[in-house]
Symmetry: C2
């Protein structure tokens, strides 16, 4: 009732409904896709596939597949194809978490509320499960069910490889390791995060444009949106690391400060970081001004990125 008298609140409630419903659908579909491609074989490889399932199925916000679905919606890409790309990107994201959690990297025991793969299995299995999920991502993208045009599939493969390799995610993780022993300024922390998490998020948003065969110039607003929510996401992550609840997050928090790692919060302070995250979300939504209701899900995701508690 109150919502009818307050259009902002009504919009807000409707955005939350759109988001909650899309999130639930995407989460279920991603689990189903992983379940279908990760059949446990009846031989000594069983342990490998079980470890891949442990890492990939159940849990996680599925933010990346959700972004893929939202950007594909803009260009009327069919949902099944969008979910295949979402599964491929999630496979890359999950492999990076499995390797990142290893004792020689961040040494984490819990992830998404479950023991990490090397805890539930062992380190060697975790290395291999990550590697096999990495290969799986490209196998999914190159399959003709992802898009009938092989040119589009090749572009997806090339962009995902770039976003996850030495100039993208892996490069950012390397800088992140160096951050423990170096003192980075705001520009360097920003560049690090644009590689570590931003590149993959940008690919999620760009996936719709690639599938819709949008011209490179037409992609500019989506690029702007992706850059802004990528940074906002990471600032929110840094804030959560300071303020969050471990049980809700399903993983250990307060690790950055303990490791002496520079983050947006350590460089800008909590208040300015929060302000900056909000400004980035407004700016991200501004990039979508040329779109109508079909971009409502992208707008709702932008707000969610800084409102989430895990």
């Amino acid at each position: 009732m109150a919502d009818q008298e307050n259009p902002d609140a009504a919009n807000d409630a409707s955005a939350k409904t759109i988001l909650a419903s899309a999130m639930a659908q995407v989460s279920d579909s991603i689990d189903a896709h992983f379940d279908a491609v990760l059949t446990v074989p009846d031989d000594a490889r069983a342990r490998l596939v079980e470890a891949m399932r442990h890492a990939a199925i159940g849990g996680g916000k599925r933010l990346r597949p959700l972004l893929v679905v939202a950007s594909c919606d803009l260009f009327h890409v069919d949902r099944q194809s969008a979910l295949r790309i979402g599964t491929a990107i999630e496979a890359i994201h999950v492999y990076s978490l499995v390797h990142d959690d290893l004792p020689c990297m961040d040494d984490d025991d819990m992830r998404r509320g479950k023991p990490t793969v090397h805890k539930a299995f062992d380190e060697a299995t975790a290395v291999l499960a990550g590697d096999a999920l990495h290969a799986l991502a490209f196998e999914i993208l190159a399959d003709e069910r992802t898009h009938h045009d092989p040119f589009v599939r090749c572009e997806l493969v090339a962009e995902l490889a770039r976003a996850s390799g030495q100039s993208g995610m892996a490069g950012g993780q390397m800088m992140d390791l160096a951050a423990e022993s170096a003192s980075f300024d705001l520009a360097t922390v920003t560049r690090l995060q644009q590689m570590k998490t931003g590149a993959l998020i940008a690919f999620c948003v760009e996936a719709g444009a690639i599938m819709g065969k949008l011209s490179p110039e037409g992609r500019a607003p989506l690029r702007g949106y992706a850059r802004d929510i990528g940074l906002a996401f990471q600032i929110a992550d840094d804030i959560l690391d300071v303020e969050g609840d471990e049980a809700r997050a399903g993983k250990a928090l307060h690790k950055d400060a303990a490791a002496g790692k520079e983050t947006f919060v350590s460089v800008m302070g909590l208040a300015r970081a929060r302000e900056q995250a909000h400004a980035l979300v407004d700016q991200a939504i501004g990039h979508l001004a040329g779109f109508g209701r079909e971009a409502d899900l992208l707008r709702a995701i932008a707000r969610f990125v800084i409102e989430r508690d895990r």
Copy 2:
């Protein structure tokens, strides 16, 4: 002079010349390709790219790229494209060695006569360098310089992903880890090796057929050749592990017996293993009967596979 009176010896000498010259050319080109794509950046990622260079440049037999070049020669594929595919496959091979050498896997200190990546750098850098080489392989394959037809590039990506993932190399490595605590029969050891090393070798040989757009039926002889030399290669590796010279091999040997791991030698005995390797090479060459001189390099590689000392 003696060679003119003995055509077999002359053929043998000529095969060795063909092989030596191709090997030298391929090794130089693969190093040059890696050098070109692995430019060390002027920031905290430098360590990552240096680790990738340490692993990828210099050393190794480059058997896989050599097979790609030899199979591409059959179908008049241009050399630069063949070498791009060779570089991509070598990137996958090298990433698997880097991860395989980690303390939680085989725990090796030396590889190709140099300290392993985690020894020369550290474990976290080794994990990330392997991951970044993995992504690099797909980035190279999806690039239009590899083949003008995106359909061909997609097929290469899909086949490489399959050959290196859970049903190929990674699956075989998992079985290999299990081999330390299980007692495998010959059939299981064979299946393990067909996945662990055979799948990637098969892809090398098939690459020429994919690039030459050969029909699936036309590929049967190459598949047979690949299967046979893949097994012969692994038997030769197991023999080398027992009999080889560590300085020549550039890595630690005699590890299988120490780990209580079943190998072709432990299951068949040294004499029968040697016999079997020779029979497989003869059979591999038999598959090439339909080809003329253009398959001489493939024939020479088949013989080399069991005559090498590293």
